[in-house]
Amino acid sequence: MKVTPVVRVQSEDFDVQLESRALAEGRKDVGALVTFTGLCRDEAGTLSALELEHYPGMAEAELTRIAEQAVQRWPLTGLTVVHRFGKIPPGENIVLVVSASAHRRAAFEAADFLMDYLKTRAPFWKKEHLVDGDSGSWVEAKSGDEDDAARWSS
């Protein structure tokens, strides 16, 4: 039986341990648990926060569509996707994917697929806010993200 993915879009932070435990606790068929956490990073020391804008309704719907594809494609025992919105300072969490399976390959690949598809298809946009008080620019999509997503359709 296919699992029902858990998808949440929220402004508050998430607890990686709690979300991982929820997919493994009390069961003996999970042999592999992969967690991916995407964080807000600041390499130049100029960023005060990233502001994540999203399309309410479609963000949840599109993440669910992507997660459903993953559970069709890999034999997963559980899948959780959490994406935050609002202002997120460097060092804080932005996105979480937890995939569980009997074996590692499915769990690794499903998490990788989720992130590649999410990057190009989930309706979220990042705007930079700078430490000098200026509102910086909108983060531009990378063409490499499209290439990453295309790997899964060959």
């Binding site: 399309y55 989930a122 946009w125 990042k126």
Partner: protein
Amino acid sequence: MNIRYFAWVRERVGLEEETIEVPASVKTVADLIGHLKSLDENHAAAFEEEDAIRVALDQLHVEVDAELGNAREAAFFPPMTGG
């Protein structure tokens, strides 16, 4: 029809959302973009780089040649940068 804008498209149009009457001649997303561009300077500026704009009809991604059909909501936004 309800039209929504996100990220820099929203900033350029100057609106998050608006309801417009769609002329009978507007059949596809491309037609709708043409119509929106004709509304005022802000709309024209927002859709200037047409290739950089993505579109969703009733919260599903579509291409610009998609028919509007019975869609109630169209959304325009730049390529996504979540994750």
